[in-house]
Structure formats: C-alpha cells, structure tokens
C-alpha cells in the first residue's frame, strides 16, 4: 500500500496545489477535446441526436473504475483512503434533478462551462456568473433549508456495500451496462440521423 500518495505523506499541501493545477489541465483538455466546450454538443444528448456526453462520461467512469479496482486488488491503492462524498438520499435525489434541469436550460455543467468560457463562449461565461449567483442565493437561504439539506444521511457508502454484492460483481455490471449503452447509443444516433434525413 503506497497510494494515494498524498495521504501517505509523499508531499505536502503546497505541492498538492501544483498537482491540482496539472490534473485540472488534463481534465479541461479532454473535456474540450470531447467537444464539451459547446452547449449545443452537450445538450444534443437530451435530444438523442448526439450521445457523446453519455459515451465520454461512461468511458471515463469505466476506465477509472477498472483502474481503481485493479490497483486496489494488487494492494497498491488503499481504497478506504479515497474520499467519498457522504450519501444523503433525498437531497441527492432532488439535487440531481435540479442539476439536470440546470444542464438542459443552461447548456453546461460547472466543469464544462469553464472550458466553454476559456474558449471564448459568452454563454459559458454567463453560465459561470449564474453559478456564482446560485451559490450566493443558496448560501443566504442555507439556514432555511439546512433541515432538508441533511435529511436521510447514510454516510460513506458504496453500491457494493449497500446492496451487499462483491465489488468485482458491481464493476462487471457497470461495464456491461456501459458497453451495452454505447452500442445502444450509437444505434439511437443512427435512427435520429435517418429521421432527420427523411424530414
């Protein structure tokens, strides 16, 4: 066990900020490469004409998931030291819906709006301004909603733990779902392209 490096003290807080910047560059680079600097490209996912969002997102999830699984299995990466956001069922249900609504209305998500703004998209910049305004609003109203905010807490829990399945089985199921989804998504894109051609 020698990873995560930071948590085993290989470097300190100051170096971690440099690491953050470098990792951010990689993140932003591939988001832009995938076409996520364009709201039209992103929202096409929700009109079934271009399923790139699903393909990129699930390829990334599956890649990292398999990497984490195997690095953990050979005993290199300590999974218990990877930060997991605690689960709050009801707020995350509602928050997820709001994220989806904001996505299709605004055309971006927080990460992709940074890429859009960096490549000169004015709507990306407006979206960023909106995020700051929304956060301020939430912050000011926080005392009123804190009860809802902390509802149904489950703590740090993973799918394998929650459903009492082996980690490997869940990895396999996600892989199956993703690969099946990719084939399905490509088929849907073809149908939609044909429909458009007819029209």
């Amino acid at each position: 066990m020698s990873a995560p490096w930071y948590k085993f003290g290989l470097f300190g807080d100051n170096v971690s900020l440099v690491v953050a910047f470098v990792i951010g560059i990689g993140f932003g680079f591939f988001l832009e490469r995938a076409g996520f600097g364009s709201a039209k490209k992103l929202t096409a996912q929700f009109y079934l004409t271009d399923m790139t969002v699903f393909k990129v997102m699930f390829t990334a999830i599956v890649t990292a998931m398999i990497g984490v699984f195997y690095l953990g299995w050979i005993g290199y990466l300590d999974l218990s030291l990877i930060y997991l956001t605690p689960t709050y069922i009801v707020p995350q249900f509602a928050g997820g819906l709001l994220l989806g609504v904001g996505f299709v209305v605004g055309g971006y998500c927080p990460g992709t709006s940074c890429v859009a703004a960096a490549t000169g998209k004015l709507d990306g910049m407006a979206f960023l301004g909106g995020i700051l305004a929304g956060l301020l609003l939430f912050g000011e109203l926080f005392p009123l909603v804190s009860g809802f905010y902390t509802m149904t807490p489950l703590g740090r829990v993973t799918l394998p733990e929650f459903f009492d399945l082996s980690y490997g089985l869940v990895v396999f199921l996600v892989v199956l779902m993703a690969v099946g989804g990719f084939a399905g998504a490509t088929q849907v894109e073809k149908w939609m392209a044909a429909k458009k051609g007819v029209r």
Binding site: T59, F69, G75, L81, Y83, G168, L169, V179, F182
Partner: protein
C-alpha cells in the same frame, strides 16, 4: 471509409478490453479487504528487536499534555475495562474489533493494553495489514500507572525531575508515591475517573490534521 474502419476497430478493441477486465473483476471479488496481507518477517523481527516501535509512558504523557493530535491512541482492552479507566484521549477498539476498525493505513497508531501481550498481537495484525506507523506503549497500562500516574520517588531524584513528575502525574489525576516498596504496593492507589483527567485539548481519535474539506 478507411478512417471509419480504423475507428471501429479502435472502439471495438476498447470495448473488448473493457469487457474482459470487467469479467475478470467478477471473479476477483473485493479489492483491499486485507485478504492479500503480506508481511516481511525479517524486517518485523528487526523492528521488534530494536524497539523502535515503542513509545514510553513519559513520552505519551508529554504528547497528551502538549495536545498533539497527529496520532490515534487505541485502548485494546474490553469495553468495561475501558469505561472504568483509560488514558485520556484514548479510543476503545477491543482486539476482536480491530478487523472492522476505522484505522487508516496512513495514520499513526499507538496501541496499549493491560500489559504488553495484546498490543504486540495487535501490532502484528496491523503491520500485516500494511499499516505504516504502528507503535506500542511500552509496559502498557501497567507501565502508565507505574511511571506516570503514581511514579515512585527515589531518594536520588533531583528537585527539577521531581517537580516534573509531580506536575505530570497531577495532570492525569495521580500522585507521587514515596517511601518503600511494600507500602506503595498496597491497595491505596485510587484510579482517577476518566472524565476528570480529560485534557483540555485534542478530542479522542480523529485525524485532526486533515481539517481541509475534500468534497465539492
């Protein structure tokens, strides 16, 4: 057309590799649950011999008084014994519960039990689980009583060290023992209540150095 063909092969290759890795995962079960624990006996033996893995009661007392919180002090005894008395800032993880404990592999852990045997067993268990820095309190709780709570004062102790002993032992609710061995061995030593001797700083356990939040 050639471009399309290349793309399909790349995509198919990626898809196939993913399926194979996912299928293998099905049979590998759970990562990092300790089933693959390995130990290096000669390295461990060397550490035991050199006693680098020991922390003296006096040192621990200094740490607690100074409010150090970059380690976790673990009491391995049974719950009832823990409730009766424990070293301030200690948390109770009975030996049988060590498997399911929340101790991180990157945390500094200081173990103690009544004497030295249980903490040595727990030390080996954690080392085998590849915990990085695991230490034992030398002499265990017996050593703590003997050297911190009720230290024996001998005639040749200097005034300064006497003052320090008195101060430390009073901090933890104990007292100095003077006179001959027979008298001190009597049942007159009253263990302080755990609540009284709680220090003003450093709550038990927790990695207080990691104060930075990690989520979004």
């Amino acid at each position: 057309m050639k471009g399309l063909f290349t793309k399909l092969t790349v995509n198919r290759a990626l898809g196939l590799a993913t399926l194979v890795l996912g299928f293998l995962a099905l049979f590998l079960g759970d990562p990092g649950k300790g089933a693959r624990a390995t130990i290096d006996p000669s390295e461990l033996a060397l550490m035991v011999q050199r006693e680098v893995d020991h922390v003296s009661p006096e040192q621990l007392a200094d740490w607690i008084i100074a409010g150090r919180s970059d380690y976790r002090l673990v009491d391995l005894r049974r719950e009832a014994e823990f409730a009766e008395y424990h070293i301030p800032t200690a948390e109770n993880i009975p030996l049988t519960g060590l498997d399911r404990s929340s101790l991180g592999r990157n945390e500094t852990v200081l173990l103690y039990s009544e004497g030295g045997i249980h903490s040595a067993q727990a030390w080996f268990l954690l080392k085998a689980r590849q915990h990085r820095s695991v230490y034992m309190l030398s002499g265990g709780l017996d050593g703590w009583k003997e050297r911190v709570l009720f230290p024996r004062v001998t005639a040749d102790s200097s005034a300064a060290s006497l003052e320090k002993l008195k101060h430390v032992s009073a901090f933890f609710g104990g007292s100095l023992r003077t006179g001959s061995g027979e008298a001190a061995a009597g049942p007159t030593l009253i263990m302080p209540k755990p609540q009284i001797s709680a220090p003003p700083v450093a709550p038990a356990g927790g990695t207080t150095t990691k104060k930075k939040k990690e989520g979004c």
